[in-house]
C-alpha cells in the first residue's frame, strides 16, 4: 500500500483520472453463479475502459470545447440584452408585484428586512418546500450511509488531534455559534435568516465535533435528538403556515399581528419560522458531516 504522500503526488500529476479511478475501485459484491456463493468480484468496468481510451478520448476535448464556446456565445448574447444595473424602469423594479412588495411589505408583514418578508410570508410555500427537500435529502443520505456501518462497514474517519485546530475551535466555535443564532433571530430585522444562520450554526457544530471526537467519539446530537428537532420544526412550520393560508383564503384576521416594526418580537410568524428553518438546516448539515465521517450523528 502506497503512502499518502506518494498517492497525493500521483493524484497531482494527473495519473488518476476518472477512468483510472473506476478501474482501480471497480469491484462489487455480487453473486457467483458457479459456486452459488457471494464473493467480491470484478465488474465489467475494465472492459469498458478499453473502449473509452480510443476515439472517445480524442473526440471528448474537441466536442467539449465546441459546446462551451456555443454556450458562452449564447450567454453573452443574453447579457447584452439585460437592462443596466439599478435602472428604474425594468420589470424587476417597476412590475406590479415588486412595487407591491416594496411599498407594502413593512406594513403587511412587519419585517424590516423585505427579503425575509417575501420568503417567509408572501412566498412561504416555497420555503416550506425547500425545507422538506432538505429533509428528504437527509433521509436519503441516512438510508444510504447508516445501513452498512453495522459490521463490515466503512471505518470511521478519525481526525488526528491537532493543537492549533483544537485551540482555534475552543475560542472560535462558541463565537461562530452565537453569530449563527444572531443571524437566525435577526432575520426579520436585518440581512440573514434561517438558511444562512443555520449554515453558520452547523459550521460551528462541525468545528466543535471535529476537535472533540478524538477523545470521546460522541457527537453533539443523538439520532433521536436529530429526529425530534427536525420533525418538530417541520411539523411546526407546516401547521403555522397552514393556519395562515387558511386565514388568508377565508379572509380571517390571524392572531399573529405584525407588531411594532424593529422590535425583536414583531413581524408575526417570521421569527418562529426562521428558528424552525434554522434548526432544520443546522441539524441537516451537521448530520451530513457526521454521517460522512462515519458513526453516529
Amino acid at each position: 500500500m502506497k503512502s499518502f504522500r506518494e498517492w497525493f503526488r500521483d493524484w497531482d500529476s494527473g495519473r488518476y483520472d476518472l477512468t483510472e479511478m473506476t478501474a482501480s475501485s471497480g469491484e462489487a459484491f455480487r453473486e457467483d453463479p458457479d459456486s452459488g456463493s457471494s464473493r467480491w468480484a470484478r465488474t465489467e468496468v475494465f472492459s469498458i475502459r478499453a473502449d473509452v481510451t480510443g476515439t472517445f478520448r480524442k473526440l471528448y476535448p474537441v466536442m467539449s470545447l465546441i459546446l462551451c464556446a456555443v454556450i458562452i456565445v449564447f450567454l453573452l448574447y443574453t447579457v447584452e440584452a439585460l437592462p443596466p444595473f439599478a435602472s428604474a424602469d425594468t420589470p424587476a423594479n417597476a412590475g406590479e408585484v415588486s412595487l407591491r412588495y416594496n411599498s407594502m411589505a413593512l406594513e403587511e408583514t412587519g419585517a424590516l428586512n423585505v427579503v425575509s418578508g417575501v420568503i417567509l410570508d408572501y412566498r412561504a410555500f416555497d420555503t416550506l418546500g425547500e425545507s422538506h427537500v432538505l429533509f428528504a435529502a437527509a433521509v436519503a443520505v441516512f438510508i444510504l450511509m447508516l445501513e452498512p456501518t453495522k459490521g463490515a462497514g466503512p471505518e470511521t474517519l478519525g481526525v488526528s488531534p491537532d493543537t492549533v485546530l483544537e485551540g482555534t475551535a475552543r475560542v472560535l466555535g462558541p463565537v461562530i455559534a452565537v453569530f449563527g443564532i444572531y443571524i437566525i433571530l435577526n432575520g426579520h430585522l436585518g440581512p440573514g435568516g434561517g438558511f444562512a444562520g443555520g449554515s453558520v450554526l452547523s459550521g460551528a457544530m462541525i468545528l466543535i465535533r471535529m476537535t472533540s471526537r478524538g477523545r470521546d467519539g460522541k457527537g453533539l446530537l443523538s439520532m433521536k435528538g436529530y429526529r425530534i428537532i427536525t420533525a418538530s420544526s417541520l411539523i411546526f412550520y407546516s401547521l403555522a403556515k397552514g393556519y395562515s393560508f387558511w386565514c388568508g383564503a377565508n379572509g380571517h384576521e390571524t392572531i399573529f399581528s405584525a407588531g411594532e416594526a424593529g422590535r425583536i418580537f414583531s413581524a408575526g410568524l417570521i421569527l418562529p419560522l426562521n428558528i424552525a428553518v434554522g434548526a432544520v438546516v443546522a441539524c441537516t448539515m451537521y448530520g451530513f458531516y457526521s454521517i460522512f465521517t462515519g458513526g453516529e450523528v
Binding site: 500500500m1 502506497k2 498517492w7 493524484w11 497531482d12 500529476s13 494527473g14 488518476y16 479511478m21 482501480s24 475501485s25 471497480g26 469491484e27 467480491w40 444595473f85 428586512n113 427579503v115 425575509s116 466503512p154 471505518e155 474517519l157 443571524i183 436585518g190 440581512p191 440573514g192 435568516g193 438558511f195 444562512a196 444562520g197 449554515s199 453558520v200 452547523s202 459550521g203 462541525i206 448539515m285 451530513f288 458531516y289 460522512f292 465521517t293
Partner: protein, 90 residues
C-alpha cells in the same frame, strides 16, 4: 468602486477557470471556496446582503467542508481498492 468590481470579477473568472483546470482535487476545492468568498463580496457590492451572508456560509463554509469529507472518503475507498489489487497481483 469600479476598479474594485473589475478586479473582483477578473479574480472570479480566474478562480472559475482554475477550479476546472486544476488536476489536484484538493487545490480545486480550495479555489472553489475562494470563488464563493469573492462571489459573496460581489453580492454585497450589488446590494444583496442576504445573498452575501448565505453565499459566505453555504458556498465557502458548509459545501466546502462536505466536499472535503467526500474527497477523504473517496481516497479511503481508492486506497482499499488499490491494496486489494496489489495483493491479488502478488
Amino acid at each position: 468602486m469600479d476598479y474594485l468590481e473589475i478586479m473582483l470579477l477578473a479574480i472570479l473568472v480566474i478562480c472559475g477557470i482554475f477550479t476546472c483546470a486544476t488536476k489536484n482535487l484538493m487545490a480545486s476545492l480550495i479555489i472553489f471556496m475562494a470563488y464563493s468568498i469573492i462571489m459573496s463580496v460581489i453580492w454585497a457590492l450589488l446590494q444583496a446582503p442576504d445573498l452575501a451572508v448565505t453565499e459566505a456560509a453555504v458556498g465557502a463554509g458548509i459545501s466546502g467542508i462536505l466536499m472535503f469529507v467526500t474527497l477523504r472518503r473517496l481516497r479511503d475507498i481508492r486506497d482499499a481498492g488499490g491494496k486489494q489489487t496489489d495483493e491479488e497481483l502478488s
